[in-house]
Symmetry: C2
Subunit: 112 residues, 2 copies
């Protein structure tokens, strides 16, 4: 059944959404969306949190594939990985598209 396949491929994206489901992490992503790579210290500056907390959040984002790290000497810099964002967007698209099609079928049925 096609719906089963869709459900599986959708469930696969749960970790991405979970990674996005935290205000601190969304803040980090917006900082990174400015374009330049930022070190952990730079990403920590301005937040009320500890560097360790930020580090943990970055690990979550990284293992969700939303972010990539590049070492420069003693500093560990992070930059956005926009492919995964597109994946997540597409997943949401798939739900709402399915929904729209269902409404169309319903409408067609009623008007028949």
């Amino acid at each position: 059944m096609r719906a089963e396949i869709a459900a599986r491929s959708l469930r696969r994206h749960a970790p991405i959404f979970a990674a996005l489901g935290d205000a601190t992490r969304l803040g980090l992503l917006t900082k990174l969306s400015a374009g330049s790579e930022l070190s952990i210290a730079q990403l920590t500056a301005g937040t009320p949190l500890t560097r360790q907390a930020i580090t943990k959040h970055l690990r979550v984002l990284q293992s969700a594939g939303l972010v990539r790290n590049v070492r420069h000497g003693r500093e560990n810099c992070f930059e956005l990985e926009p492919r995964r964002l597109d994946e997540a967007r597409r997943a949401l698209d798939s739900i709402s598209r399915q929904w729209d099609e269902a409404l169309d079928r319903l409408k067609a049925f009623v008007e028949k």
Copy 2:
């Protein structure tokens, strides 16, 4: 600063993403995306979980605005609320758009 405003409006969507960040809840949404409202019992059928667990998940989805409930006699039925899905999609758009613009600026700077 424009970036600050963007960051705030993005952080506001954290609860939506958090609600989406669970495989069980994504499964419920796909079931509901078929179009017809479904009772709690119907949504529970086929899952290895208890009715109570499903009920809790539905509450999470509801308080995130992703789902709406309609009572029919003794049964409590749920249906999709697609507006919030669009909101979430738009939020992801805003990040990747900002990212793309940053890359464009960088490219223009290099080629100058």
